[in-house]
């Protein structure tokens, strides 16, 4: 590999450094299973209320049904997103984004970059926004969304969410056709450590777990338990732990889905249950935290 081509970890570091320079608080992944970077409290909950907020973080995402036992070069049940939130969205967010591509070696002047309409809706989060998927020479590399509603609540000011598909971009930069051939880092002697070295076994085992082993009854019970726990937390006016329970419910649901244990109607019902608790958490967070910080600001002024 060409020496100036970034490794997987250098790419993450470069994005962190770039966005840190734009005033983003560099955060770490949410420490629970999530289906997308959007679920992180730093995105979902911080989108609510009037306070300004800029953050960036990588987020491993788990989509149990997308497992392919490590046999598909493009698809995994565990992969990385890099998430940026700018709230309120600044007038030059697209230029900042193009700058970030340059920062990882993809000079927009040397490629064909397009913003192609792709609006976003998350039924489980009661959220939607308008935006694009960004194409780089025809490849979808980023999801770019102006949130309009989160947890059924109109967001004001409007945050912009920029979500990079890290593996896909890295495959393009490094010119490899299989995700497992990506170079993650180099050992001191120059031996490459590949994505496969790091995650292939993980894909094999978790694909088997997700499709064949995960205990359906336990997952159903887990969903019910965490749903109840979520309500208890909300009763105790603790929206953050309550929201943590929503993540657990969501992951239990995803596993039930990958086990093929959910009928179409049950599916709709489970999604509705997740949305209900997610919305309740958003409302509680807005009331107890986000709006409270607004009145504090008011007092200071």
């Amino acid at each position: 590999m060409n020496a100036d081509v970034l490794t997987f970890q250098d790419m993450i570091l470069a994005l962190e450094r770039y966005w840190a320079a734009q005033g983003c608080t560099v955060m770490q992944p949410y420490d629970s299973e999530v289906g997308a970077g959007t679920f992180h409290t730093a995105t979902t909950l911080r989108s609510l209320g009037p306070a300004a907020w800029r953050t960036c973080y990588p987020q491993p995402c788990r989509r149990p049904a997308d497992g392919r036992y490590g046999e598909n070069p493009n698809r995994m049940q565990h992969y990385y997103q890099f998430q940026v939130i700018l709230k309120p969205c600044p007038p030059d967010s697209q230029d900042l984004y193009l700058g970030s591509l340059a920062a990882i070696g993809l000079d927009p002047a040397k490629h064909d970059v397009r913003f192609v309409e792709d609006d976003w809706e998350s039924p489980t989060l009661g959220a939607w926004g308008l935006g694009w998927e960004v194409w780089l020479d025809g490849m979808e590399v980023t999801q770019y969304t102006y949130f309009q509603q989160v947890g059924g609540i109109e967001v004001d000011p409007v945050p912009v969410e920029i979500t990079y598909g890290l593996e896909r971009i890295a495959m393009y930069i490094q010119g490899v056709d299989s995700v497992y051939d990506l170079i993650w880092s180099y050992l001191p002697d120059g031996t490459p450590m590949t994505y496969g070295d790091v995650f292939l076994e993980n894909e094999r085992e978790f694909s088997a777990y997700n499709f064949e082993v995960a205990d359906v009854e336990m997952m159903r019970a887990k969903f019910d338990d965490y749903e109840a726990e979520c309500h208890r937390c909300l009763d105790a006016k603790l929206p953050l732990p309550a929201y943590d329970c929503v993540m657990k419910c969501s992951h239990a649901f995803n596993l039930l889905d990958s086990r093929g244990a959910i009928s179409a109607t049950e599916r709709a019902n489970y999604i509705l249950r997740v949305r209900t608790v997610a919305k309740a958490c958003c409302e509680a967070y807005l009331e107890l935290v986000a709006a409270r910080s607004e009145s504090k600001e008011g007092e200071v002024a």
Partner: protein, 697 residues
């Protein structure tokens, strides 16, 4: 006459989606044209221009000020306008108020008719254009609509637009027209192509807007379409008669995904041509907005056309990137397709037992069994030979199998198409493969029907099964809700049955419902069958109306419960023709029928005693007897025109009967005999049309 300058309003945005953009550009021209008229500013031609990042309108030769207007209005006659003391009357005060002048300023003058009137004279001074154009511009931006889409907010702003507005260039000549919207204030700069000429570009004069754009590597939509068409034409020519497929919707999108297009050609590996071409083309057109290239002989080639928005000199990188994307997609598609081929289609059908068709109606596998019965019934009623019958049942068995194949899970639009390939690979007869392929048709109004009887049988079975099932669980479509697209399915069944006159819809409905009952679904068969028939009758009436058949004729045929589409339409047309030929006759016949049906008492039956009859009655009886035979013969022969002619012959004897015979005779025996005769008369119509509908105006 004031001086004139060109007026420019450019709304600069982040990338707007294609369809709403095209719609907004149309609105923009109309709104500005109407708005200019309201300002009273003289102006020349109006033109609009769009790119994904801007919507612009240029009004040529816009006056820099409105003309001064001297407005004279004549009011009431002077003698009414002033009282004896010379003070203005209510009439004068009202007139002055209406004209917006002081009553004291009213002028008395003799008009051309020699009478004296009061006049209100007002001079509206010339108004400068800038404030008028400012207001017009702000109103215009706010009033653009986004049908079938939505607008968004951005930053801390509450105003909406389809995507965030980032700049506004508004000029009258070289002077900035002040315009504010959300957090943006107008200036005299536009923005160039994102990478070829980034940043602000001064527009010195509204009239040179397009030139500034072009210098900044931005072309309007018409120019971009021309460049792309020319590029494609050159590619076709270089390849000696090749054809590049550019479906309109995709072409429009491609035009609206660039500001400075370059047309490039990419290639995919030979091996992928083994993948069904529908998948290759869907993947290229819908997912990537590439245009497939067909050779002169019509065969799909390995090449595709991609339109780039990048800088000249990047072609190799851009083509390479796009080829990698298509390789990854086609690799997946080929992998799925090859994997799918390892599993027999019959095996997929069995896997449908874990796929829900509808919560209360069970699995797709159960639906397949019902479809087999129903497709067999269609073939049988259509009078096909034993082999075709077998093929219909076989195709119905296999039709849904591909739903659980990996290729269809990935490329949902190819349902049916893939099943056709899998069936062909398994050596199924050509008619079966084609039927599987086409059984989702017609997918929309005016869509092609499945070509052969086997395909029609499966398509009817699929749709009618859904319709009957949904009615059986009492979830019939309502005005606002039709989640299972029952209406569309119904119209589809009707359009296919129009071509299969011998197939009885009522019989098929009973068969479909019987299959559900056999599978254990509990419902009231007779009741549901009636509702399904009524639903079909409603759709059929709507279709007949669309074909220009009069409402009373549709009622006349509907009233006797005809729901077989071919027969319904044939009868309606025959009745319409018969009436058109002799309108009075049918008017009379209808009146007589209505009278007979009104007087008649069904409980008396139709056995009349000829010995009690007077001559007009025996004449009517003879005509009825003759007519009944004739009508039955004609109906048997499906000669509806003949049946109406036979009915028409009853007009004279029935008219005579009503003129010469008093039905309500004092002698009950005579009276009842006459009523029986009328019953007998009405009875003939029962199988043809409710002729009484024709006189209900």
């Amino acid at each position: 006459m004031a001086e004139t300058r060109d007026f420019l309003l450019e709304i600069g945005t982040e990338e707007m989606p294609s369809a709403p953009l095209m719609n907004a550009q149309k609105q923009l021209g109309t709104i500005i044209e109407r708005g200019m008229a309201e300002t009273g500013l003289a102006h020349g031609a109006i033109r609009t221009l769009s790119t994904p990042r801007r919507l612009a309108v240029i009004v040529e030769a816009c006056a820099t000020a409105t003309d001064e207007v001297h407005d004279v209005k004549r009011g009431p006659a002077a003698q009414i306008a002033f009282d004896a003391d010379g003070a203005p009357t209510k009439a004068a005060l009202g007139f002055a108020r209406k004209c917006g002048v002081d009553a004291a300023a009213l002028v008395r003058r003799v008009d051309t008719d020699g009478r004296e009137y009061v006049f209100a004279e007002k001079t509206i001074p010339s108004a400068p254009a800038l404030p008028l154009l400012s207001a017009l511009s702000e109103r215009t931006i706010a009033s653009l609509e986004w049908p079938n889409y939505r607008s968004q907010r951005w930053g801390s702003e509450h105003a909406g637009f389809v995507r965030p507005i980032r700049w506004i260039c508004a000029l009258l000549g070289s002077e900035v027209v002040p315009v504010s919207y959300a957090d943006v204030t107008s200036g005299s700069t536009t923005r160039g192509h994102r990478v070829l000429a980034p940043g602000d570009h001064a527009v010195p004069e509204a009239s040179c807007y397009e030139r500034v754009l072009e210098d900044a590597f931005v072309l309007g939509e018409k120019r971009r379409a021309e460049v792309i068409r020319a590029g494609i034409a050159a590619i076709e020519q270089e390849r000696g008669g090749a054809h590049v497929d550019t479906p309109k919707r995709i072409f429009d999108e491609v035009v609206n995904l660039c500001e400075w297009p370059s047309v490039l050609v990419g290639t995919f590996d030979e091996q992928f041509l083994a993948v069904p071409h529908e998948i290759i083309c869907e993947s290229m057109l819908s997912n990537q907005r590439y245009f497939p290239v067909y050779a002169a002989d019509g065969s799909l080639t390995r090449e595709f056309v991609v339109v780039s928005n990048a800088a000249p000199g990047t072609e190799a990188t851009v083509v390479d990137g796009n080829e990698r994307v298509v390789r990854a997609r086609l690799y997946d598609a080929k992998f799925f397709y090859d994997e799918d081929l390892r599993v027999p289609l019959d095996e997929y059908v069995e896997r449908l037992s874990v796929v829900t068709f509808q919560e209360k109606l069970g699995t797709m596998r159960a639906k397949v069994s019902r479809m087999e019965t129903l497709a067999g019934a269609v073939a049988e009623l259509a009078g096909t030979d034993a082999e075709t019958h077998r093929e219909a049942v076989r195709a119905a068995h296999l039709a849904k199998g591909d739903l659980v194949s990996q290729a269809v899970v990935e490329f949902t639009n190819q349902q049916g198409v893939m099943g056709g390939y899998y069936a062909a690979a398994a050596g199924e007869p050509a008619a079966v493969c084609q039927a599987i392929r086409e059984h989702y048709r017609p997918r929309f109004a005016g869509d092609e029907l499945p070509e052969g009887i086997v395909g029609k049988a499966v398509a009817i079975a699929d749709k009618l099964d859904t319709i009957c099932g949904i009615f059986a669980i009492d979830e019939a479509p309502t005005g606002s809700s039709d989640p299972y697209a029952v209406r569309r399915a119904t119209i589809g069944v009707i359009s296919m049955l129009k071509e299969l006159p011998s197939v009885s819809l009522a019989a098929l409905i009973d068969t479909a419902l019987a299959s559900y009952a056999d599978q254990g679904l509990a419902f009231d068969s007779a009741d549901v069958a009636g509702k399904v028939r009524a639903f079909f009758a409603g759709r059929l009436a709507a279709i007949a109306k669309d074909e220009g058949i009069a409402a009373d004729i549709i009622d006349a045929i509907s009233a006797i419960g005809i729901i077989d589409p071919a027969e319904f339409l044939a009868r309606a047309r025959a009745l319409a023709d018969a009436r058109a030929n002799s309108p009075e006759l049918f008017e009379d016949l209808s009146t007589a029928y209505t009278r007979a049906a009104h007087l008649g008492d069904a409980s008396l039956g139709t056995d009349c005693d000829a010995s009690l009859m007077t001559e007009p009655e025996t004449a009517l009886l003879a005509a009825i007897e003759h007519g009944r035979g004739a009508v039955a013969d004609r109906l048997e022969a499906k000669d509806f025109a003949g049946a109406f002619t036979a009915l028409a012959e009853l007009r004279e004897p029935i008219d005579r009967f009503f003129v010469e015979v008093l039905v309500m005779d004092e002698d009950t025996r005579v009276k009842e005999n006459r009523l029986r005769l009328l019953n007998r008369f009405s009875g003939i119509f029962a199988d043809v049309a409710d002729i009484g509908c024709l006189s209900k105006k």
